[in-house]
């Protein structure tokens, strides 16, 4: 990874005709006497996307973005300025604006920085996805279109897209560190619409991560994504209206881990807890889940969508235990909130781009496997819901209330999975829901790599994971009372 740093550092200094001394001077200018911390975040990214619908790839889009963000922190105050022109003059102007926060007219002396060494490379890529020819990606989408239509004649519309990002970042901080990273990211999505006698239903699936293009071709992945999207659309043709009321719910493995993300993860982000606006405020050391539950956030899993060598403040990512056997153990921290709370940064300081101030965010959040057999979990439910896939979710951090919508779910009747249901929404209370977990399966799965999390208007890629679990008594919002 030292090699990646050199590459990132050389890339920016050469491309924008800067040198390390100028970076040191800018940090010094942002620092001033009353500023505790300052950093620079350089970013250069290329995004490319091709999409297919109506049997043709009619859209191809590419964008190049570059810029630098300068941040100055004084206690809990943050001053930030950014510019999409990376020049010494703009750096100086930005430093002056950022420093305004401390109402501090003095400008500091240069802060020496040395290259940090990151000992690992979680996403070694042989050939950047951006260097694979566009024709090859177009061919893939065309194959997906044929596959989906072959799956069932009731599939009437197929939409597929392939997107990739190549992001180079460089962070220089007043801690005296300079660290760079090259972050690849790609994703393949398939959506199918099935129609039968005026009934129209949709199914979607996809995956990706930080790896080579070959990832999508290996182990039948793109075929699987396609069949999953088509299967879901066809299945929903026979779905009945979801039940309404409180019942036992079994969540399938993998993507339903979005429950942890929404119900628990956001409430454990350091900023909300420092401000005491989270429903989890002051609960460290206290039970917040049944003792079957251990939940971690792990940014160090190779190749995953939510993984990073270093976060967007230059801190190496970690595996952070959030809940251990039901007891709340820790929060997700960036530098500012860790310092104010007297805790250590956990490598969760992330930002969408140079235009954004970093804040505590999740990476890959999942529950560890338990001991139950997934089939036994289903058999234990007399009347309930089996939710296998979700569209999306949202949480009110302060009240703890969360909501998420199932895109594939079934009724469970007398221990058996029976009819598919549509339009089911689960609603609950974050600090309460995991206390209702009565069985945890041994089948932990991570999601396929499509998650994007939004907070304060900033989107970042994340991963989630879950074994099959049973939750007693959760409210299902449907129309069949």
């Amino acid at each position: 990874m030292a090699k990646e740093l050199t590459k990132a550092e050389d890339f920016f200094l050469k491309k924008f005709n800067l040198n390390t001394v100028q970076l040191e001077e800018t940090i010094g200018k942002a620092l001033g006497k009353r500023i505790d911390y300052a950093d620079l975040y350089f970013e250069y990214r290329t995004n490319e996307s091709v999409s297919l619908e109506e049997g043709m790839v009619k859209k191809a889009v590419k964008s190049v973005g570059q810029g630098v963000g300068v941040r100055a922190v004084a206690e809990e105050k943050t001053g930030y300025a950014y510019s999409d022109e990376i020049t010494v003059k703009n750096l100086e102007d930005a430093a002056r604006t950022a420093r305004f926060i401390a109402d501090d007219p003095t400008s500091g002396i240069p802060v020496p920085v040395r290259s940090g060494v990151v000992q690992r490379d979680l996403y070694p890529v042989k050939t950047p996805v951006s260097e694979i020819s566009i024709q090859e990606k177009i061919d893939l989408l065309n194959r997906i279109d044929i596959l989906a239509r072959r799956y069932d004649p009731r599939i009437t519309k197929v939409m597929a897209s392939f997107s990739s990002e190549h992001k180079v970042i460089l962070i220089a901080t007043s801690d005296g560190m300079i660290v760079g990273d090259i972050q690849p990211l790609s994703r393949l999505n398939v959506t199918c619409i099935a129609e039968e006698k005026g009934n129209r239903q949709v199914g979607s699936y996809g995956g990706g991560g930080r790896g080579d293009y070959s990832f999508f071709l290996e182990n039948g992945r793109f075929e699987d994504y396609t069949k999953e999207a088509a299967r879901q659309a066809i299945l929903n043709l026979s779905a009945v209206d979801a039940p309404a009321g409180t019942m036992d719910v079994v969540l399938g493995p993998g993507w339903p881990g979005i429950l942890l993300h929404e119900a628990i993860g956001h409430g454990l982000e350091g900023d909300f807890n420092r401000k005491q606006t989270s429903a989890f405020t002051d609960l460290i050391g206290k039970p917040v889940a049944s003792e079957l539950c251990t939940v971690v956030d792990d940014g160090t899993i190779p190749g995953r969508r939510g993984s990073l060598n270093v976060d967007d403040e230059g801190t190496p990512t970690h595996r952070t235990v959030l809940i251990e056997k039901g007891i709340l153990k820790g929060y997700l921290q960036d530098k500012l909130n860790a310092k104010l709370m007297g805790m250590a940064p956990t490598g969760n300081g992330r930002r969408e781009s140079f235009m954004h101030i970093p804040m505590p965010r999740m990476t890959n959040t999942f529950m560890l496997a338990g001991e139950s057999d997934p089939d036994a979990i289903i058999r234990s439910v007399k009347n309930g819901l089996y939710a296998v896939s979700f569209g999306g979710g949202q949480v009110d951090i302060t009240s703890g209330k969360f909501v998420f919508s199932a895109s594939e779910a079934y009724r469970i009747e007398d221990g058996k999975v029976t009819v598919p249901v549509k339009g089911a929404t689960l609603i609950g209370n974050g600090p309460d829901v995991l206390k209702r977990v009565t069985m945890v399966g041994k089948d932990l799965q991570l999601d396929a790599g499509v998650g994007t999390c939004g907070k304060d208007g900033q989107s970042v890629p994340v991963g989630v994971g879950l074994p099959t679990i049973k939750i007693n008594g959760i409210t299902v919002g449907g129309t069949k009372g």
Binding site: N47, V50, M56, V57, K58, A60, V61, K62, S63, V64, G65, Q66, G67, E76, K77, T78, G79, Y80, Y82, S83, D84, F100, I138, T156, I193, R200, Q201, V202, A242, A244, K275, Q276, T277, A279, M355, I357, G391, G392, G393, Q394, V395, D396, T398, S399, K401, F402, V403, S405, K422, G423, A424, T425, I427, N429, T475, G477, G478, T479, K480, G481
Partner: protein, 446 residues
Amino acid sequence: MVQYENLANDLLKKAKSKGATAGDIVIVEGDSFDVQVRLKSVDKLSNAHEKRLGLRLFFGQRTAVCSTSDFSAESLDRLVEDTCYLARCTAEDPQAGLPEPTPLVSPDLDLYDESLRQWKMEDKIHLAVQAESAALGQDARITNSEGANLSHAGRRVVYANTHGVIGSYPVGSVSFSVSPIATAGGSMQRDYWYSAKRKIRDLASPETVGRTAARRVLRRLGGRKIATCDVPVVFDPETASELIGSIGACASGYAVYKGASFLAGKLGQSVAASSVTVLDDGQIPSALGSRPFDGEGLATRKTTVIRNGVLESYLLDTYSARKLGLRSTGNAVRSVGDVPSVSHTNLYLSPGAHDPEAIIRSVKRGLYVIEMIGFGVNHVTGDYSRGAVGLWIENGELTYPVEEITIAGNLKEILMNIEMVGNDLEFRGTVASPTLKLSRMTVAGN
């Protein structure tokens, strides 16, 4: 901006010399400012300048879009090369292309406030502090705050295409919001209120916004869960606007031609109660959704989407209109780096005759919805199921708050079940609705 108009023409010329048959360019340049104060002192302050250029080229019926924030000659040369290359790779699409040549009209809709530039940092911070203080000072139960936020942005939009159409306009917005937190009986609630306008002088006062935020959070304290029931549901103007926003999304020409909307194939049919008229008007002076011309250089206009319950028009750009054999309604939007798409301008439900108080009084037992969360809206089927917070209505009176419930139905029935439309229409964003009463929805709780 003359320099950008020249730049746009030069790039289009260069692209044509490389074989492009047509194309257009969007350039956006602007400044933005954002300050967050919390517990009366500054928490975050951010200031920025940005510019981006997006080039769309056609090679016959093939097309692609590339964009960059790097305006150096070398980068722009590569942009033209890349766009030509990508466009040649895509499939022939019979409906692809620029709109028919139409002279560009650019009425002055008064969308930019010159005084934003002179607004002093201290005054902006002071306004946010005043708004937060007004909320914090309202009641002893307001114990904490997520802060008050003030932001403004101003930009100039330049559009040019190879039919010789060229134009530009300045546009800005300013807004502030307050998010107080109230505590009672060991439970915490947060709510917010805001004011967003094109002009500083049109903003609500910080005291009004702060006090409204306080009133909104206090009424949520002591929330209960209720038993599952089918009851009449009244949406306040904020949540009613979200419903109307979903209708707008389902009326988008793209959702319709893809068969991904429950409104597909329903033109001329009755889709809502006869009291429902939904309009989209891009020409309202100083309104947040107004723009003189759309993302393809076509004039914006007033479109009746639903008239007295009958679906009269979709919202269309050139491409989606051609797919459906219709004409553009001037609703193209263009994010700089993407192909055109469709969005509403100022979308609203025409006001009815009823006082909101009279609407609530008409409900014997039901729910007054004040917030919805989650993404349970399926545009394809119309299935609608969202988390909600509300106030329980008993004998025509608002009583206790209700939380941890969902409200569910299907947009088809929801539109048909609109029983009363309020007279309290107010434009607070780009989508607006008066208070609405639905004859029934499923409320899921215990």
